[in-house]
Amino acid sequence: MVNKFLTGFLSFFLFISVNLTTAPKAEAAIGLIVKNRTAKTVGGIGAASSAVVFGGGLLLAEAGVVTFNIASAVLFVTGTMFFGALGLITLDGETIADVEFMPIKKTTQSDGLTMDEVRMYNSELDELNAIRKSVQTELAEDDSSEDAKELWNAYKGQLHPYTVKVAELKALELAKKFKVKK
């Protein structure tokens, strides 16, 4: 039976002119989790190294693959850091998922984005994800989301304003779909 989990508030900060508010929530210092050498990662190095031996044969996949069923938000998360260029989801306190920005293939009127904005965002995806990775590695063990926000603010000027706008909106949009397990 799937345990119901309480909806928590996501703690992140917005730094664009859009008038959105956040509800603060204490969360594990993201820097600590990123720097934890024993942390398992989903979709990456740590997970694959724990390959499962199945029936005497080697299974060529990560153990404990987590399914992101975003549409119905049945993902168990213990914390998120989701804003701007930072996309990290912590699962079970020791497994982290490195979530990248992906190309936007189509846009609808409800997105509130113009074709030019989407085109610019798509053309700067490499740069956006490079900044994202840099922010992750620069965070110290005891850094918080405020520190991550400061880094993002320092670097976002290297991107076109359209890219910044789209990235921040999309990160917020996605973050809202997660329910946080207490």
Binding site: G43, L60, T67, I70, E100, E127, A130, K133, L174
Partner: protein, 294 residues
């Protein structure tokens, strides 16, 4: 005289029968499985006598790229771990799927360039089909084998070999084309001050080539019509703190390439580099080059 002609034709055909390549890239702790896979490959593929069988282990991106772009490769099977996390199709953020070599470096992107002589390509890793869902491997013209679920290594290899044999039998061993495939592009030279890890060189969705760890300078060609942005990738984990690039510079006739960097000049990214050209590419700077060289 007739015997001499016969022998000449026999060896000529054998020379051009092509290579069947089996590449494995599993980490050290999977050594027993590694050995088992090699035994299976030898046993099942040595019977195809007219083709040369090449089996390599602990394969990195350089060797993979070389075999994928080799005009003598007629069939290639790759075995490694795969990492895939399902997300909604319309999600703007996702965990990107990875195909991992023996040092857990992602090299799924190396499969973007496949020589048209390759008739069969099998990528045996869990959820390979999903890992390559955005890359149209069939475009190369090869028959493709991609497991769509988690797969046991030995089962996957046996299935890939069965399909490989069916494909080769059906195609009835056409002669490999030895004609160079030419294209037009802008030459760029990449130079590094110290030797480091190998990296792949990208522009948009195109892989331009791979720079081996033993080279300090190498030329590549940016295909005509592409945006002048070059991305260099080692495939190492974004959580790895060790930067393996050192100082890298890119030169071309069109001007200076600048690295995408922080205000203090430190490059952005972890074990990757993004370079952009300050000025537009010179149209008169196009050269003809061979698309597949290794």
């Amino acid at each position: 005289m007739k015997n001499a002609v016969f022998l000449f034709l026999f060896f000529a055909l054998k020379l051009h029968a092509g290579n069947i390549v089996v590449l494995t890239s599993l980490p050290p702790e999977d050594a027993r499985t590694q050995a088992k896979l090699e035994r299976i490959a030898h046993k099942k593929l040595n019977t195809l006598g007219e083709h040369e069988l090449i089996i390599e282990s602990k394969v990195d991106m350089v060797s993979l790229y070389n075999h994928l772009t080799d005009k003598d490769t007629i069939a290639l099977i790759w075995l490694s771990h795969g990492a895939y996390t399902k997300t909604s199709a319309d999600s703007p953020m996702a965990v990107s799927p990875k195909l991992l070599d023996f040092k857990m470096r992602d090299l799924a992107f190396i499969f973007k360039k496949i020589h048209p002589n390759i008739q069969f390509l099998g990528v045996v890793g869990c959820n390979s089909k999903q890992i390559f869902s955005e890359t149209n491997l069939e475009q190369s013209g090869a028959s493709i084998y991609l497991p769509k679920r988690k797969i046991i290594a030995t089962w996957g290899l046996r299935r890939a070999i069965r399909k490989l044999k069916r494909v080769l039998k059906k195609n009835n061993a056409p002669a490999l084309s030895q004609r160079p495939i030419l294209a037009k592009g802008h030459r760029i030279d990449i130079e590094r001050s110290t030797l480091g890890e190998a990296f792949a060189v990208y522009a948009g969705d195109h892989i331009l080539g791979v720079m081996p760890k033993t080279l300090k300078r190498q030329s590549f060609y940016l295909p005509k019509g592409l945006t002048p942005k070059i991305v260099l990738k080692t495939g190492t984990s974004p959580f790895s703190s060790e930067d393996v690039f050192g100082d890298i510079s890119i030169y071309s006739n069109s001007g200076e390439w600048k690295v995408f960097s922080k205000p203090d000049g430190t490059p952005f990214g972890v074990n990757e580099r993004i370079f952009k050209l300050r000025d537009p590419l010179l149209e008169g700077d196009l050269e003809e080059y061979e698309l597949f060289t290794n």
